[in-house]
Symmetry: none
Subunit: 260 residues, 2 copies
C-alpha cells in the first residue's frame, strides 16, 4: 500500500505529521492565549492578544497546507495539484510584523517610543517577507535563477530589524527589571535562532531544479519547527513576560496570582 503517489512513504509521513503538529500547536496556543489574557494586567493584554492572533493566522494556514499537501501528494491526489508554497509567505507577511508588534507591546514603553520602534520594525518585516517570496517560489522575475538575488535583497531589512531590536530596543531595556531584561534577551535569542532556520532552508532550496524529495522534506520540517518555536513558544514567552511585569506593577495582582 502506497501512502503517496509521488513521494516515499517515509517522507510523506514525516511532512503529514509535521503539518498536523503545526495545526495542533498553533490552534491550541491560540485558545490558551486568548483565555489566559485575563491572567495579566490590562496594560499587557494587547501583547497577549496579538500573540494569540499570530498563532490563529498560522493555524489557518497550517490547515490549508495540510489539505493542500494531501491533495498534491496523497494517494487520492495523484499529483494533479501543485503544493502551494505561497501559504507560508502569506502567513509570514501577516504574522512576522505582528510578532514584532507583540514584542514591543509587552514592554509597555511610553507611547512615543513604541510608535518610533514600530514604524521601523513593521515595514521592514513586511519587506523582508515580500522580497523573499519571488526567490523561494522561483518566479524568475529578473532572470532565470535569480533566487540568490531575492535572498540578498530580503537580508537587508532582516539586518535592519536586528539592528533595531538589539541596539535601539536595547537602550530602552535599561529601565526594565533584571527578570524582565533576562526574558527579553531570551526572546531575542529565540527570534534570532528560529528566524535563522528560514534563510538556511531558503539557501538549501535556492538552486533546486525540479522536485527533490529530500530537500522538500527538510524544508517543510525546518519551516514547521521554526514556525512553532517562533510563534507558539515566542507567544508563551511574551505571556510569561506579561505575567512577570504584572506582578511587578501590582502587589494586588501578585497576591491574587501567586502564593509566595
Amino acid at each position: 500500500m502506497n501512502l503517496s503517489s509521488t513521494m516515499s512513504d517515509g517522507g510523506y509521513t514525516i511532512i503529514y505529521n509535521m503539518l498536523s503538529l503545526g495545526i495542533a500547536s498553533m490552534l491550541f496556543t491560540t485558545v490558551f492565549l486568548f483565555v489566559a489574557r485575563e491572567r495579566v494586567l490590562p496594560r499587557y493584554r494587547m501583547a497577549v492578544m496579538v500573540s494569540g492572533t499570530v498563532t490563529a493566522i498560522a493555524a489557518y494556514h497550517y490547515f490549508r497546507m495540510f489539505d493542500d499537501f494531501k491533495e498534491a501528494f496523497g494517494p487520492e491526489g495523484m499529483g494533479v495539484v501543485a503544493y502551494n508554497v505561497g501559504y507560508r509567505y502569506v502567513d509570514w507577511f501577516l504574522t512576522v510584523p505582528l510578532l514584532l508588534v507583540e514584542t514591543v507591546a509587552v514592554l509597555a514603553l511610553a507611547r512615543a517610543m513604541q510608535t518610533q520602534l514600530l514604524v521601523k520594525l513593521v515595514p521592514a518585516a513586511a519587506a523582508m517577507i515580500a522580497l523573499g517570496y519571488p526567490g523561494d517560489a522561483q518566479l524568475n522575475v529578473f532572470y532565470q535563477g535569480d533566487a540568490p538575488l531575492w535572498g540578498l535583497l530580503s537580508t537587508i531589512p532582516f539586518l535592519y530589524i536586528l539592528y533595531v531590536l538589539f541596539v535601539e530596543l536595547g537602550k530602552s531595556l535599561e529601565r526594565q527589571s533584571a527578570a524582565v531584561q533576562r526574558k527579553i534577551k531570551e526572546l531575542r535569542l529565540l527570534l534570532l535562532a528560529t528566524w535563522g532556520v528560514y534563510p538556511i532552508a531558503f539557501i538549501a532550496n535556492m538552486n533546486a531544479t525540479g522536485f527533490d524529495e529530500t530537500s522538500f522534506v527538510l524544508r517543510e520540517t525546518g519551516y514547521t519547527i521554526a514556525d512553532i518555536l517562533a510563534k507558539c513558544l515566542f507567544g508563551l514567552v511574551i505571556f510569561t513576560i506579561a505575567r512577570i511585569k504584572s506582578a511587578e506593577d501590582s502587589e494586588e495582582f501578585a497576591k491574587a496570582e501567586y502564593k509566595d
Copy 2:
C-alpha cells in the same frame, strides 16, 4: 453489508465507537474546564486552563484519528490510506509535558520550586514520547525489529519522571493540607495506572509483522481508554484539587461556593 473492507465488522465497530467516545470525552471536558475555571481562585486558574488545553489538543487528534480510521478501513476507503499512528504520538508529544505542567501548577508552589520541577519534567516527558515513536511505528531506524530498543530508551525518561514526581515532588507535599495530599496521591496513582497501559500496548505490538486485527483492536481500545483516564479524569481531579485549595485559601470563596 460489510462495514469495513479489511476488518471484521466487530473489530471495526469497536474501534469506531471508541474513537467517537474519545472525541466526546475530550471535547466536552475541554468546554467544561474552560468555563469552570472561574469557579477556582485566580492562582489556580492556570492549572485548570492547561488541563483544558490538553483535552482540546487531544480532541483535535481524536477527530483526525476518527476520519483517518474511516478512510483506512471503512467501506468507502478500500484500504488506500494507511492508518496513521503518528497522530497519537504527536498528541502525546504535546499533551504529556502539559499534563505535568498542570500537576505542578495546581500545587501553587513557590515560583523557584515550580521552575525547578518543570525544567526536569517537561524535557523528560518530551523525550519519552519522541523515543517511543520509532518503535511503535516500526520505523526500523537502527536495524530490522529495533522496537524493543526504542521501548527501552523511552523507559529511561519515564523512570526519571516517576522519580521526580514521587521523590522530589513528594518533599514539597508536606506543606499541603491532608485533603490535598490525599488528592495528589490519587493523581499520581492515576498517572501511574494509566501511563502503564501504553507500554503494555507497545510491547503487545512490538513484534507484530504485518496487520493483526486482534492486537490492533486491543491497542486502539487500550490507548483510547488510557487517554480518557489520563487526560479527562486527570484534568477533573486537577480541578477538584484547585477547588479544595481555593476553599482552604479563602474563607470568602468557601462561603460563596459551599453552603456548609
